[in-house]
């Protein structure tokens, strides 16, 4: 009885349509109308410009610590744009571009990063979960949403975002396994940006790709050039259509790069070289998409100024935010506030009354001595 292969079908594809030199594989070029291409580029540019502005706002102490997305615009917009409004989007903490696409107001995001929980509240009816910070823990939520959609007979698809570091967490594997067993409509989008804070991918996994991890769970996995918005779009559309048709989940690995810091409290010069960053800057997703649109004569004049003006107006609205009412912290702990919490609320109210002052000023500059997970104070 010789050994014989029982599962010989494994293969992992890499998809690239528009490379960093602007070469296009016309046979694979997705059929997207001009206005869609322009909307995608505008969203990527808006995310980039907002990200840069937010870093300045953080340095000025006007917002707190946040995770910049610079470099990952194609991975986010190319995927999220394949969803319908009735589909679900489940972010981790670096999905500002995807959130903007899904309709989150810029000033809400700014409020959120300035410490106002109100800013993280999805609008009524909006099918997005709020930012989730513990790595990979949102993946089972996405699978549960997809189960519920299927249970109710809705044709909604769920798309969940996470990074390369998340693939080492148990929740990633449990979520993939449950999704495979249940055959539910979920699309796992891994933004492999090469670095989980200071830990490079080669220390994160011995697998050659992240996409291949899908195969162990009986799902299709595909690797795409995550800086090629056309490739991300093509793979995502295929995955979303497969999910909606009842043909189950997909793992998409977007190979991209975090051009900026892990968060504004991180100093990447401690762990990676300038040469590496410059090499990836040459693969910038916006540059190559702009060149593609330029050849099609679809680049709009004055777009950058328009986007900057939109950001400036939102920043002005954000700055007009009133002080946070401390008493509101008790509002959403339970559906009905229990007696001990009512007593604690009364205690705070009395303390505020006794102080006689208006509630504390909003958005105090973040204390750099209090880093979030894995962050340390920048030496700069």
């Amino acid at each position: 009885m010789p050994r014989k292969p029982v599962e010989p079908r494994f293969s992992v594809e890499h998809l690239s349509i528009l490379d960093s030199d602007g070469n296009l594989d016309a046979a694979l070029e997705p059929d997207l109308p001009p206005e869609s291409l322009q909307a995608m580029y505008r969203a990527m540019l808006l995310a980039r410009r907002l990200d840069e502005r937010m870093v300045r706002l953080q340095r000025q102490g006007r917002v707190g610590t946040f995770a910049p997305l610079k470099g990952q615009e194609a991975s986010q917009i190319g995927s999220v744009c394949t969803l319908r409004p009735a589909d679900w989007m489940v972010p981790s903490f670096r999905e500002t571009a995807a959130m903007l696409w899904r309709g989150w107001p810029i000033e809400s995001l700014l409020r959120f990063f300035a410490g106002y929980l109100e800013g993280g509240r999805p609008a009524p009816g909006q099918r997005d979960l709020p930012v989730t910070i513990p790595v990979a823990t949102q993946l089972p939520h996405a699978v549960g949403l997809a189960y519920a959609a299927q249970y109710r007979g809705d044709d909604a698809v769920v798309m969940v975002y996470f990074g390369d570091g998340a693939t080492s967490e148990g929740d990633f594997h449990e979520a993939m396994n449950f999704a495979g067993v249940w055959h539910v409509p979920v699309v796992f989008v891994c933004q492999n940006n090469q670095w989980a804070i200071s830990v490079p991918l080669k220390k994160q996994t011995h697998s050659r790709t992240i996409a291949q991890k899908a195969l162990a769970y009986g799902l299709p996995g595909i690797q795409v050039d995550g800086n090629d918005v056309l490739a991300v779009y093509a793979a995502s559309r295929e995955a979303v259509e497969r999910a909606r048709a009842g043909d189950g989940p997909t793992l998409i690995e977007c190979v991209t790069y975090r051009l900026s810091m892990h968060t504004t409290a991180d100093d990447p010069s401690k762990y990676r070289s300038e040469e590496e960053v410059r090499e990836w800057e040459r693969k910038d997703p916006l540059t190559r998409f702009a060149a593609y649109l330029g050849k099609k004569n679809l680049l709009q004049d004055g777009l950058e100024a328009e986007v900057d003006a939109e950001i400036a107006e939102a920043v002005a609205r954000f700055e007009a935010t009133g002080p946070a009412d401390p008493l509101a912290m008790f509002d959403h702990v339970y559906a009905e506030t229990p007696p001990h919490l009512r007593a604690q609320r009364a205690e705070l109210a009395a303390r505020l009354d006794a102080a006689g002052a208006p509630p504390p000023a909003p958005a105090a500059p973040p204390d750099p001595a209090l880093p979030m997970r894995g962050q340390r104070q920048s030496r700069r």
Partner: protein
Amino acid sequence: MSRLTMVKALNLALREEMERDPDVLIIGEDVGVDGGVFRVTDDLHRTFGGRRVIDSPLAEAAIVGTSVGMALYGLKPVCEIQFSGFAFQCFHQIENHAARYRNRSQGRFHCQMVIRMPYGGGVRALEHHTESEEQFYAHIPGLKIVVPSGPRTARALLVSAIRDPDPVVFFEAKALYHAAREEVPEESEALPIGRAQVVREGRDLTLIAWGAMVRVAREAAETLEQEDGARCEVIDLLTVSPLDREALVASVRKTGRAVVVHEAPRSFGPGAEIAASIMEGAFLSLEAPIGRVTAYDVSFAGFARERATVPDAARLVAAARETLAF
């Protein structure tokens, strides 16, 4: 009325709520075809099918994590964690998410879900199968911790837990599963969460217990009445969090003395919060320090030594006598 064990009473509550509300579903390890290792979900798979009574893969974090997702969609999952000792593998999903979603989303989402878990000793079992962990959950804002003390309260509280818009961790004392039968009304019955019950009136001493310790407290109260002529009031907490401080304070204002009994280790256990709450609300009525009869601060004793650490009536009687004589 029929006389049911706690297992059958819990099964009745699940069946009733599933019949009443198509959004209620069950998920856990072996809960389907097998009916759960303690048979709490017996026969529900046959009635409601595998889509509603889900035999999940063996992964606590994803059982709770996917249930969070289902709850965010509007379903009302009831998760079964096979033994409370295994719930640390889903603790992050409970603490980071189930308990926090209402606050994080500022009321846009909430997790109406129940996490059932058998706890406690008395079943001659191995490590991780006999511990008592309500204190870990009671410390978490946004959660409710419910511990029934017998068939009738189990049925009525599980119904309430399933209908409660907030996540409920529902502890079931394994020692009570088949311990006794009790009359359970045919018609649906619900008990309010967050309210303790005075199960024996008295004026000399308040004994505070929940779950399997309620029968220990009742037995101790009986002994103290017969042998000492002391009349003990027994409070069955039923909900550990939010704690019914009003009921505790009202009783101690009357009796002036209290002893708390719990299976969890003593340090930083529920007894400490209960004692502090009584002190805050009834300090001038207190005639003696509040006693605590608990398991010792050891991680696991093994069932050969279990009776030396899990409180019994004799130990509670001795502690009560000290408190009465103070």
